[in-house]
Amino acid sequence: MTAIDPARRVVVTGMGVVTPIGTNVPEFWGGLKRGQLGVGPVGGFPVEELKILIAAQVKGFEPKVRLKHFKRDKLITLADRYSWFAAAAADEAMQMAGLEGPIANPYRAACIVGSGAGGLVTFETAYRDLFIHKKLATHPLTLLRIIGSSASAHIGIEFGIKGPTFATCSACSTASHAIGLATDYIRNGVVDIAIAGASESVINYGTMKAWQALHVLSPQGCFPFSKKRNGTVLGEGAGILVLESYAHAKARGAKIIAELAGYGMSSDAQDMVKPTIEGPREAMRMALEDAGIAPTAIDYLNAHGTATADNDRNETKAIKEVFGDHAYKLAISSTKSMHGHPLGAGGGIEAVATIKAMQESWVPPTIGLDDPDPECDLDYIPNVGRDKAVRYAMSNSFAFGGLNAVLVFGPPPA
């Protein structure tokens, strides 16, 4: 374990989410408890001749209601949908942390909120206007809506954060990288507090066509580790944490939800789509080492579990290499079976699911898992969640390009 100043241990004091199965943490947790399916017919735009007609879309999210109370950021309701999700999740996390903007010590705060692709829905609308509707100009806010750092900027403006503010971008590991970087900043004394995570909202005609062309989407549903699994299902949403140094949280009397005990990052450096076992294994191993715990200390693992054959088999093998015999005793689940694959936001949403599992002593299931793939022979908590004391938990994110980031959460420091 890297020697970390005890005062600079990193704790979680707030969490926020927007997901297809709940647009705040209590609703999301309720959805996980019920085994709610967030996947349904894709809509909201002309589906034309799409072959894949399902997605996990966020429904009933009203930015003008949810973000109405924003004081400093005057443009938030005119921003892209991905910024709305980020702002709503950050707002929930800050409220849970008992913090209000503008932050008291603004240069000692960071806002690292990533996105795999930024405002792709805005992009498509603008290009439709230009190329199909032959409009003379795009909407003036097009550029500001599109850029992948606009969510972090919006949140930074609202909460008056003047320290490091930027987005990470690593496809499906975006949120976990953001949370990992924020952890480093806090440990190293760059800042005392950080809003970290990611947001994604890319479900439109062009994105569906691009994913369809890669032939990794399922026409039926997201069934991780199952024999019937035949691809992933696009999702959307945001998952954001408020992280603080232990000393900072203690000094202001904040309620500490969990410790961000360790994280690991690695890159396969081999192939854009074919994952290695080594990369994910090393990221998990580094996260455990960073946390200073043995593999046997992990009680629950929130898998990347995308329901692609490559991921599910590879992740299973990598878990076995890291955990040995303990792999078979470990409670593992892919909550993507319920909320779909929210791409860059995945690690943030799943971090919240992981921390809630620790708080509530209940591990969420992998739904749709009646008949497992014989090569996926671990305990993936099929269909029904269960009571289980969770002291330490791991959350995996493995992205296209072989970009891996793994987080380990533990109990609040004694």
Binding site: L136, A137, H139, P140
Partner: protein, 84 residues
């Protein structure tokens, strides 16, 4: 007031944080308290409504436009030039 002026004033009001009740042709643009981003949105809306392009650079002072009336006149001349 003609249709062009009515439409332009409607657009101005839509983008103002605190819409003034009485906007006339003689109203100075500086009295409207329009911020730079709002101006870009107003220009976009006017261009879209009238099918014209207004030469305008956010880095330069819009000195050609002093009053609402000067905007209306400019839009009319651009409309005429594009055959609109």
């Amino acid at each position: 007031m003609d249709d062009v002026a009515t439409k332009i004033i409607e657009i101005l009001k839509k983008h103002m944080k605190e819409p003034m009740q009485s906007i006339g042709l003689e109203t100075a643009l500086t009295d409207l308290k329009i911020e730079s981003l709002d101006l870009a949105m107003i220009v976009f809306d006017i261009e879209d409504s009238f099918g014209i392009e207004i030469p305008y650079n956010a880095n330069e002072e819009a000195s050609a436009f002093k009053t609402v009336g000067s905007v209306v006149e400019r839009v009319k001349s651009l409309k005429a030039a594009t055959g609109g």
